[in-house]
Symmetry: C2
Subunit: 263 residues, 2 copies
């Protein structure tokens, strides 16, 4: 994409990441692609061909009606047991287990529950949480198919604006070994989420050792920088990033269990 | 930092990430802060107060003379054994072990060696690799103290330009559970690497569940998007990000072993 720099003869690679303000509180059935495109236009950032639109999971879950009232949940004996021993709400534990294919780690003393979701994502609490959800007794589940969520938003952006963009659904995950959370891509449309450089050469002509870059995760992380958790900004645009167009799926970012040394 | 959006009355949060072209091949003793500041200015991107300068580990290691000729390395019996069984160069295995405090995983069949470095970083091969290093028989080690590396670059930028910037040293790491690598921060100066939102409220007034964000890792990831591995761009600037000024250290991003469920 970019050649070796020689200062002045070539435009430096540059991307701009912008938070989209003015997106209203999202109700079930909302057309996020339309709302985001309109809000971006209102702030003078009309979407253009090649933009990457990053949308946080929370508003996607709201638009898709993936909110659950805890008083509707009856915990299983196992969920009630872990909840009681760990000090966690047994109804949330029950929801986490319902959304999960496998438990990766349970730490009773610290109340930590890390599972593999039905999508294959490995994260705390199957991605369930209550922040930025109105109501004391309501939590959000992850979208059922975040790639499909991204495709719907992408199609709505095209219908509203005529522009072809890529869409990433992001969520905030912890990780082993390192403190702090970062945003990663749980859904993608219109972009190759995982760039495969195998067979390429580095700048000194050696075969590349770094073979696969999780560009969708890096885009999600970049977007988080303009959507700090306290700010109520649920979407951002990334302009100027030369991604590879593809149908797109964040499933490629999920390591197969049999290849994972840490599950 | 940013209030709730209301479209038009408030400037949208926006950051710009720019690759710095024209940085020459780095020799031991090079003043990276000076070279980066000059190269940025040549392309019309003079550094300004509050910029974040992200510098890849490889050039830092070169500037600090952290290159090793493999023909100078005598493998221990253990390194020779693992090298022989796994098909890895025993001299590289030896260097990995010398740089490590502990082995986290050894996979002989796939030749995978994940260790905890003396800095506490957990990564493949103790961060040793040969890409973008001239010479067939030469590899780079991680800087001995990447926070100190960042401090030196920051001081040189100030001396050269008078501007106060933050500096992040980045490297490309794999991670459990997810395919593809992303850039993370292994050193930091002038910036709080880990933002602690404990005690804060979300946009609907609930206490925040996401309590700590690894902003330095997200900045490193954003920078990678303009420094694709094949391109020979070893530094980038991030402008417009409102970080918290601090002495800064990437050590806060390293989880204590006793708190880590995956070591």
């Amino acid at each position: 994409m970019h050649g070796k720099g020689n200062g002045g003869e070539q435009a430096p690679p540059r991307i701009t990441v912008t938070g989209v303000l003015g997106i209203p509180e999202i109700q079930a059935g909302a057309r996020l692609g339309v709302l985001i495109a309109k809000a971006a236009a209102r702030q003078g950032d009309d979407l253009v061909h090649g933009d990457v639109v990053v949308v946080t999971q929370k508003v996607v879950s709201k638009a898709e009606g993936r909110l659950v009232r805890l008083d509707s949940v009856l915990p299983s004996p196992f969920a009630a047991g872990f909840g009681g021993r760990s000090g966690r709400d047994p109804r949330i534990v029950e929801l986490v287990l319902r959304e999960s294919a496998a438990v990766v780690r349970m730490d009773t003393a610290r109340g930590i529950l890390i599972t593999e979701t039905k999508h294959g994502l490995v994260c705390a609490n199957a991605g369930i949480d209550s922040s930025n959800v109105p109501g004391d007794d309501v939590v959000s589940l992850l979208p059922e198919d975040p790639d499909e969520s991204a495709r719907v938003i992408r199609a709505d952006v095209k219908r509203e604006t005529g522009k072809i963009v890529a869409v990433i659904i992001s969520d905030t995950f912890g990780r082993p070994w390192r403190e702090g959370q970062t945003d990663v891509a749980i859904g993608a449309a219109g972009i190759e989420a995982l760039m495969d450089y195998r067979g390429g050469m580095d700048a000194v002509g050696k075969p590349l050792k770094v073979t696969m870059t999780a560009v969708a995760d890096e885009l999600a992380a970049a977007a988080e920088l303009v959507m700090a958790k306290t700010s109520g900004i649920p979407a951002a645009t990334v302009r100027g990033y030369e991604y590879r167009e593809a149908v797109g799926s964040a499933r490629r970012l999920v390591r197969e269990r049999s290849l994972d040394l840490f599950r």
